[in-house]
Amino acid sequence: MNISWYIVLSALLFTIGAIGILIRRSPMVILLCLELMLNAANLALVAFSREVGNAQGQVFALVVMVIAACEVVVGLGLIVAIFRRKLPLDVDDLRELRG
């Protein structure tokens, strides 16, 4: 299979993730969509690393996984805090700050 296929696929996944962030309101799902985007990036990285024939991209992908995990943790922590604070778990309703 050509590398191009993988890249195009990753582009597809990336955009799907983006769409998700833009249209979902539950913070949890939004976090999931972030995961989607990061994974799309990972796919691209790995594919490219295959294409250029060095493994740096794969390592990059691994690091990205770690970072994604961190973001998830913090995100979920925030969600919990918000829940504790009896605020709605809907990003549209969190709009005290604007203008």
Binding site: A18, I21, L22, I23, R25, V91, D92, L94, R95, E96, L97, R98, G99
Partner: protein
């Protein structure tokens, strides 16, 4: 001591007087002010004599000197010195001005006694004399303009002397603005001269002009016309004359000094002074002459119907100046100057007398209300009669000689200029009529109330509440003239002295310039005008005497008519009025000059001002420029904030949008 140093002294004394009086107004008495003021001018006169003597000591060709104190305003490209120019012409003017002024100061010393602003008055008056002398002595056009404007200011200050009177302040403003227009004419003329000749100094200008310009070249014509604007504005010639009648708001001594004897004749002096240029621009000269003629007749016609004593005399002043302008423009220089002198005498005298009478009438100026002062105020009426005779050119009085000399010259020059002779004589007729109209109506007849009171009690009547004759509104007395106790009419010796001297001069000054006998003035002034071809023209003695004869006849005729109209059959005037109602109203409204100017100049200016204020400033400056910008920025801000709606997904949308846009730009930019 040389002529120039005398001249500097001439300038010095009035200035010192003015300053001293002004600074001392708190500590010194009114007497001090009066004495200092009069003395200063007297000294100036004396110095004038000194200068005269010096000049006469020299041979006629050498009788001109320039002298300068310091560089007034000079840079590499143009020099302006603080310099004077002394020659017979200027000395002549100095003598006339300072002489008449001395007498009028004397008169004012008594006349203004009870006025609150005594110091201010004399300070201004001295300042005026200083400015007038500066004007006549100036050695270059810039200094001329300075003196020119100074007298304008002095006249303004003295016209609105009783500054609580709105009429006075308005009249002052009018006079000043019109005079400024005149100044502008002079300034432009100066610029043009500088452009052509590269200097402002009289001597150089008059020396260079004949080489640079050839006759009737447009530049020199333009210069002369611009000079005329200045001259006419100052000398109240058409169409700039409207300020002079209003100027009568000022105290009577002011009217007699500034608005009869001296300042208003500055225009005549100017034309005489720059005759070199006018010779080069005959067209301009003729225009000047015709304007003078027109003024002469128009003013005379108005004077026929004026009921306000002072204004009537003012119009006669205009008309007399018309004679002078005609004279100096057509080339009768010395004649014109001579008439200037005699006119100064008798017109000053007439005003003094009028002032005395007005005082006796408790500020009433309307001649319809006056009568019978002949009995009430002997001295005044006698002197007034002398003045009137001179004005009417009664044979052998001063006016008789001076006026007729001009007309004789005109006929001698012949051709087109005969018009001036003919119409000049017609003007003389009118003059005689209106002059004696005043005399008969004011002096003869049975005394009016005030006159009667004067006869009975020897006390001058005065209104219980002083009022403004023009509007009739009551005066606020702290500027109040006449003050509470005011009994000055012909009772104060200084006044009598001044009037007496002037009466004498008015009657007999003519004899210094009798055609064919002794033409003192002509001889004295000849060196100045020697360079003018027109000066060569000279009416033969016979012609001159014929002219005098005609003049005498006309003047007598005029007096006779006046007698018939106002004494023999007092009904006639009224009938004439009804018969020629239109004419009368037309004349009575002074040919509607004020209205015309108001319509043509004043209203448009104000309209523009209002437009600028209410429309332009509000809608363009504040509206479009300032407001527009604010509006735009504000709108933009609103848009930005509306995108900032606090919903995180919108932010995400914009982020992706940015990404897409940027990527697109990059891709397009390259392919």
């Amino acid at each position: 001591m040389s002529a120039t140093s005398w001249a500097w002294l001439v300038l010095l004394f009035p200035l010192l007087g003015s300053i001293t009086i002004a600074l001392g107004f708190r500590r010194t008495s009114w007497r001090f002010a009066g004495i200092v003021g009069t003395a200063a001018i007297a000294l100036a006169f004396v110095c004038g004599i000194g200068a005269l003597v010096c000049l006469l000591g020299e041979d006629p060709e050498a009788r001109h000197h320039a002298s300068s104190l310091w560089e007034y305003a000079s840079v590499a490209s143009l020099q302006i010195k603080l310099g004077i120019y002394v020659d017979p012409l200027s000395v002549f003017m100095v003598l006339v001005v300072s002489g008449v002024s001395t007498l009028i100061h004397l008169y004012s010393f008594g006349y203004m006694q009870s006025d609150q602003g005594y110091h201010r008055f004399f300070s201004y008056l001295n300042f005026f004399v200083f400015s007038m002398l500066l004007l006549v002595l100036a050695g270059n056009f810039v200094l001329l303009i300075v003196g020119w404007a100074f007298v304008g200011f002095a006249s303004y200050a003295l016209i609105s002397y009783w500054y609580r009177r709105t009429t006075a302040t308005r009249a002052g403003m009018k006079a000043f603005v019109i005079n400024v227009i005149g100044d502008i004419g002079l300034v432009l003329a100066a610029f043009l001269i500088f452009q052509q000749l590269g200097t402002f100094e009289y001597t150089e200008v008059f020396a260079k002009a004949p080489q640079v310009f050839h006759t009737n070249e447009w530049t020199v014509t333009a210069i002369c016309l611009l000079l005329l604007v200045g001259a006419f504005a100052k000398s109240a010639q058409l169409p700039f004359h409207t300020w002079l009648p209003d100027a009568m708001e000022g105290p009577t001594p002011v009217s007699s000094l500034i608005h009869a004897a001296t300042m208003v004749t500055a225009g005549v002096y100017l034309i005489a002074r720059t005759h070199v240029l006018f010779v080069l621009a005959p067209t301009a000269a003729d225009i000047a002459a015709f304007v003078g003629l027109a003024t002469l007749l128009v003013a005379a016609s108005i004077a026929l119907v004026m009921t306000d004593l002072k204004r009537a005399i003012a119009y006669s002043t205009m008309s007399q100046i018309g004679y002078m302008v005609v004279g100096v423009s057509i080339g009768a220089y010395s004649a014109g100057m001579f008439h200037l002198m005699t006119h100064a005498f008798f017109k000053a005298l007439l005003f003094m007398a009028a002032g005395s009478i007005i005082a006796a009438m408790a500020n009433e100026q309307n001649i319809d209300k006056m009568s019978g002062f002949g009995k009430a105020m002997k001295f005044t009426s006698v002197t007034m009669l002398c003045g009137a005779l001179a004005l009417a050119a009664f044979p052998l009085t001063s006016g008789f000689f001076s006026k007729d000399e001009i007309l004789a010259y005109a006929s001698a020059r012949g051709g087109m200029y005969l018009i001036f002779t003919v119409l000049g004589y017609f003007g003389a007729l009118l003059t005689a009529i209106y002059t004696f109209r005043l005399i008969f109506r004011v002096l003869r007849g049975d005394p009016c109330a005030e006159a009667q009171e004067l006869i009975d009690t020897g006390h001058v009547a005065h209104a219980e509440a002083p009022f403004n004759p023009a509007t009739g509104e009551t005066e606020d007395t702290d500027v109040g003239f006449p003050g509470a106790e005011h009994h000055i009419a012909e009772q104060s010796p200084p006044m009598k002295l001044a009037m007496g001297v002037l009466a004498f001069l008015a009657l007999f000054a003519g004899f210094i310039q009798v055609p064919g006998v002794d033409e003192t003035v002509t001889h004295f002034l000849d060196p100045v005008f020697a360079d003018s071809p027109l000066a060569a023209i000279h009416p033969s003695n016979t012609a001159a005497w014929i002219g005098l004869a005609i003049g005498a006849a006309i003047s007598l005729a005029g007096i006779a008519i006046a007698y018939w109209l106002y004494v023999a059959s007092p009904e006639t005037p009224r009938r004439l009025q009804q018969r020629f109602a239109a004419v009368h109203t037309f004349l009575y409204n002074k040919w509607y000059f004020d209205e015309a100017i108001d319509f043509l100049v004043v209203r448009p200016a104000l309209a523009i001002g209002r437009f600028a204020n209410d429309v332009f400033e509000r809608f363009v400056i504040d509206g479009a420029i300032t407001g527009g910008t604010e509006e735009t920025v504000g709108r933009a801000g609103a848009i930005v904030r509306s995108f900032q709606n606090g919903i995180v997904r919108t932010y995400g949308l914009f982020l992706i949008f940015g990404a897409v846009g940027l990527a697109l730009y990059f891709l397009i930019q390259q392919s």
